[in-house]
């Protein structure tokens, strides 16, 4: 079945490219509680704000009021961290209904979740656990994504994971798994460049080859973040801690991603050891410069062709 056939069957639009509301070329920032009042009062320049969905599930509470105030001035993206898309037992429908209630009010420009899982046997962890790259896991996550998209009435983006270890008996690699998820469900990809860099180091694959294996036309958003280095059993392991500025090798990989996928809406994630807002905005401006350079370069090439 091709994508056109699937589009005809669904009561909502499948992913077809980055959202036009994010085409300003300005990079977004994650909305974090310590910055909320300053953002609402000062309205600093940022392309969009991305909120962790679960932090705003309590409709009418203080965090929700802050999100709605931000929504007056910025496009808002909802990025979930607890839905557990890769769970064999399916997603938690109570959780999904809370997400839908929030989305119905906020009307976000983007909604995204992760290629991971975090809930099984009636318990949950506040982390993003790796999925085995198997046909069974592929079927489970596709089933869950379709259920989520049908419930929400919209296509979502799914984010490639950061990994510290892998399973025995893999049946495909991660880019293959992601390409198949997107082909089967019609969702888009949230390409986390830092996650690729972190996983490539930790698992020993080539980050650039990973990028080249991702099909063009499926990326709806890019994430950038800083990582942290931990020593585990004598090895340096890169931890996706979102507690540092974006490191140079990740900027290099971002440049390669832009060259491959085009000027994609980009977000800086910084969650721990949170800097002052102006420092976070500086990091977003740096991403703007990469994107502007790409547009300029493409303009020059187009002029040469003409």
């Amino acid at each position: 079945m091709n994508t056109q056939d699937k589009k005809a069957e669904k009561p909502f639009a499948l992913f077809s490219g980055p959202d036009a509301a994010l085409s300003s070329g300005r990079t977004g920032i994650g909305l974090r509680a310590p910055h909320a009042a300053q953002i609402i009062a000062g309205k600093p320049e940022a392309g969009f704000l991305e909120a962790h969905s679960e932090n705003y599930f309590c409709i009418g509470g203080v965090p929700f009021e802050q999100l709605m105030a931000c929504r007056e001035d910025y496009p808002v993206s909802l990025h979930g961290v607890g839905l557990s898309l890769g769970a064999a037992e399916g997603v938690d429908d109570a959780h999904l209904q809370k997400l839908k209630a929030l989305a119905d009010i906020v009307q976000p420009v983007l909604m995204s979740e992760h290629v991971s899982w975090s809930r099984a046997a009636g318990v949950a962890v506040p982390d993003l656990l790796p999925l085995p790259m198997t046909q069974e896991a592929l079927a489970a996550i596709c089933r869950n994504i379709e259920h989520v998209q049908e419930t929400l009435g919209r296509a979502i983006l799914v984010e490639n994971p950061s990994s510290y270890m892998e399973f025995e008996g893999m049946e495909m690699n991660e880019p293959e798994m992601i390409a198949r998820i997107i082909e089967r469900t019609g969702c888009g990809l949230l390409l986390d460049v830092n996650n690729i860099y972190v996983s490539a180091h930790n698992l020993g694959f080539d980050a650039k080859a990973y990028l080249d294996a991702i099909p063009q036309g499926i990326v709806g958003e890019i994430h950038l973040a800083g990582y942290h280095v931990n020593e585990v059993a004598g090895d340096d392991v890169f931890i996706d801690a979102h507690n540092n500025p974006v490191y140079d090798p990740v900027w290099d990989l971002y440049e390669a991603a832009l060259a491959r996928f085009g000027d994609i809406p980009t977000l800086i994630e910084w969650d721990s050891d949170l800097p002052v807002l102006s420092r976070l905005l500086e990091e977003a401006q740096k991403a703007d410069e990469y994107r502007a350079a790409l547009r300029k370069d493409k303009g020059t090439k187009n002029a040469r062709v003409a």
Partner: protein, 247 residues
């Protein structure tokens, strides 16, 4: 490779209960510790964020120990962590090490109610004009704002909470002596206010919240607990602090 469901059950139990990864089909099994640490630190910090005064009372070391034991005993059941910690106060009440600090569980109860209040909506409030316009006051029905939370304790935990606050260090100057205490917590804009009330005021709000919205029955319960209570003054305070919902 075991079936996905079994693999996920085994792995999540191993992470939450610090189990042995020996049988799991993982390469570099020692790195499972990263996920164990992430989960432990995130949940512990979440509890410390919700219970900052309790953390100060217990000290960082004991709070870390109590949080770790709580997480192992009652792990989260949902990816929505807003409700995680609801049973922490009851858990503390059963720790033998805290027997000589009986006010600690109630301090944690108060902090949980403050957390719930923070996450609750403010609805349009009843005004003094609205109240004056009620034609049949005896049979009127009143509804407390969803962000109003009430607590009764044998200890002045409201005073303790206010004294220590978010960054204060008044603990060393605070002497805890048993005293029957009733209080209400509510949203004052984006902060949480605490209001010390009498037993009559407590019973009035308790009745409205848990039994029936009838003013007459709530007033009867309040007067039975505190015959000298001024209902006019209580109603005026509820209206002035915008704690009643406009119907």
């Amino acid at each position: 490779m075991p079936a996905l469901h079994k693999l996920q059950q085994d792995l999540i139990r191993c992470i939450l209960q610090d189990g042995d990864a020996g049988a799991l089909p993982l390469k570099r099994k020692e790195r499972l510790q990263i996920y164990k640490n992430n989960t432990a630190f995130i949940l512990r910090d979440l509890l410390k964020d919700v219970f900052p005064v309790t953390t100060k009372l217990l000290g960082e070391g004991f709070m870390n120990h109590a949080a770790q034991a709580f997480i192992a005993h009652l792990p989260p059941e949902s990816g929505d962590m807003n409700g995680y910690g609801a049973r922490f106060a009851d858990f503390l009440a059963h720790l033998p090490a805290l027997n000589q600090y009986p006010y600690v569980p109630d301090t944690a109860r108060l902090e949980w109610l403050a957390h719930e209040s923070y996450l609750s909506p403010r609805l349009p409030a009843m005004t003094a004009q609205d109240l004056a316009a009620v034609k049949d006051p005896v049979n009127m029905r009143l509804r407390l704002q969803p962000h109003v939370q009430i607590l009764q304790s044998a200890w002045p935990v409201d005073t303790l909470w206010s004294a220590i606050g978010e960054q204060g260090d008044a603990l060393k100057d605070f002497t805890m002596e048993a005293r029957d205490t009733c209080c209400a917590l509510f949203r004052d804009g984006q902060r949480i206010a605490v209001w010390s009330v009498t037993i009559g005021g407590y019973r009035f709000m308790e009745h409205l919240q848990t039994i029936d919205a009838s003013f007459a029955f709530a007033a009867e319960a309040a007067m039975a607990a505190e015959p000298e209570l001024s209902l006019d003054r209580l109603l005026a305070a509820l209206i002035q602090q915008e704690l009643l919902v406009k119907e």
